[in-house]
Amino acid sequence: MSSHASYEFSNPVVRWIDSRLPVFSLMKAQAMDFPTPRNLNYWWTFGGIAATMLVIQLITGIVLVMHFTPHVDLAFDSVEKIMRDVNYGWLLRWLHANGAAFFFLAVYIHIFRGLYYGSYKAPREILWMIGVIILIAMMATAFMGYVLPWGQMSYWAAVVITNLFSAIPVVGETIVQWLWGGFSVDNPTLQRFFSLHYLLPFVLAALVFLHIWALHVPGNNNPDGIDVKSEQDTLPFHPYYTMKDLFAILVFLLVYLAFVFYSPWYMGHAINFVKANPLVTPAHIVPEWYFLPQYAMLRAVPDKLGGVIVMFASLIILFFLPWLDRSKVRSLRYRPVTRIFFWLFAITCVVLGIAGAQPAEGVWLLVARIATIYYFAYFLVILPLLGKLEKPKPMPASITEAVMQKH
């Protein structure tokens, strides 16, 4: 970032600006010439996809706010007004609602890519930790956004989730009342959720900036998990990865828009088309699919406080991952034993998601408990042990050699 005016631009206006504020040099160095490992596969496109989704959420959200009224008596009606009377309001609303789900889809794939290829290991620990903060901020944002339309599931999700904090000993009740702005989920709750739902995406954007900054110091990890050794190992980001990312983004958008146009409320809950009613509890209170694994862990523990701790711990533990995994080898391509446990872990997360959608009883409760134990065991037992015990496969000397071996 310190490479001031290291480029000679031919356009005099660009040169004039760049010598005073080197934004063009910065863009050229960081977004065009940036040396990127030549062996990145399509799993590496999900970072760009996630960033695209954030931008879509910001733009659609800012326009939706122009028509939305954050008040318990008016919120539901104002959403229906957007759907019926605002020009293309239905499009904005469905882009935004489905956009949240697809943002999570992209981010979850992005995280699992990092887990598989060891992208959290030195020297990328801070890059990874900023990513975990982004995930948590995203979850808070999505939860508060889901409350805003003030349907039945919106309201009861707010009741259930805010009530979690009442499990905290001594100060729990006080904290919950502070969150609510009163003695129940009501208008003050809706208004503060609206305020924070508008604020947090900009915090997210700033975090994404830091995330990319932290990425551009060591550069990208890659599927072989070996460091870049020479210029031969890399390609300039533009046009190689700009064009590859753009293609991947378009494929992702096709799937996303297929839902927006042809099944816009498929991922939602029918009951949320019924206005919030504090006197009628829905038969099943279920979060959106992207919270189901955490929801399953919450309910897997018989004790309320224990459940809350386990749920939050499932996220917090990710901060410690760079030091829990003791292996110096990044990519699971060269760790055949860990690879098996990784895929078991991935399946566990899906199983937790399925269990989270079922009533917490009988066989599903047992499944959720076993899956929760494995989730934590993977980080706390399996990775630390395998880092010491596993003998990794021989690795190629360089990225170029790895690429040539493939052919």
Binding site: N39, F247, G268, A270, V274, W289, V403
Partner: protein
């Protein structure tokens, strides 16, 4: 044939189901009866004549107890709906008395309805609705088709089937309205009626339709099944008045984006063919 394709896709797409919305636990409810509505599928459109018939059923039968708060009379003449003429829509509106005001003397007054008016509710408030209906307020029907589900499948197949069949809201409304039967074992409950499609089976609403309750102008025989189907389609339109616009823009978007994606793939391939990777 169509069913077979759906079934094949359903099986093939099982894996996709893992991604999808949570399955509801099966409660005390029958799956709605299948019906191929004209507005299903990515190209499905509303049947204008059916929506016009459904409007008659709603107006003459349902509206005596149920509100339709999000419908305005002008919507009846807008594209993508029943598409009455503006004159017809005005005539419908003028048949209702709308409370307006206050006037310059501070008095509220009633006047005939206009195109911009919302469809007037049968009761002034929820308490009045409850008082007149044995303590159970008839719900607003503007979103009933989106707010109810018709299918209760096992968790491992439900997300896939719903991807192709939707939530079953229109089918639920149709089945409910035409599905009243005698209760099994002759059981009776005070003030409640037996309907296998209603969650819990006992519903406060008495059977609202009977043959020839409405006289259709287009000569269609007004059987209970026909009226239930027509009003379910009408309520589907009220719940999603922009559906036709959505599918039209969707098609153009998907075609454009599909072509763009193909071009980007060729660009990407051309660029990467220069290097080993």
């Amino acid at each position: 044939m169509k069913n077979r394709i759906v079934r094949m896709l359903a099986v093939a797409g099982l894996g996709l189901g893992l991604l999808a919305a949570p399955a509801q636990a099966a409660g005390l409810q029958e799956n709605a009866e299948e019906h191929a509505f004209s507005f299903e599928g990515p190209f499905g459109q509303f049947d204008r004549a059916q929506l016009q018939r459904g409007w008659e059923v709603f107006r003459q039968v349902c509206s005596s107890c149920h509100s339709l708060n999000y419908l305005r009379f002008r919507n009846l003449a807008e594209p993508g709906g029943p598409e009455f003429t503006v004159e017809q829509a005005k005539a419908f509106a003028s048949q209702y008395d709308i409370t307006d005001g206050p006037d310059e003397n501070g008095e509220m007054f009633t006047r005939p309805g206009r195109l911009s008016d919302a469809f007037p509710a049968p009761y002034p408030n929820e308490q009045a609705a409850k008082a007149a209906n044995n303590g159970a307020a008839p719900p607003d029907l503007s979103l009933i088709v989106k707010g109810r589900e018709g299918w209760y499948y096992p968790w491992y197949i439900s997300p896939v089937l719903k991807l192709f069949k939707g939530n079953g809201g229109p089918e639920y409304v149709r089945s409910l309205l035409s599905g009243y039967t005698d209760p099994p074992h002759g059981e009776e409950r005070e003030g409640l009626n037996y309907n296998p499609y209603f969650p819990g089976h006992w519903i406060a609403m008495p059977p609202p339709l009977s043959d020839d309750a409405v006289e259709y102008k287009d000569g269609t025989p007004a059987t209970v099944k026909q009226m239930a189907t027509d009003v379910a389609a009408f309520l589907a339109w009220v719940a999603m008045p922009k559906m036709e616009e959505r599918k039209r823009i969707g098609l153009m978007t998907m075609l454009y984006l599909g072509l763009f994606t193909l071009l980007m793939y060729l660009v990407k391939r051309a660029i990467w063919s220069r290097v080993e990777h």
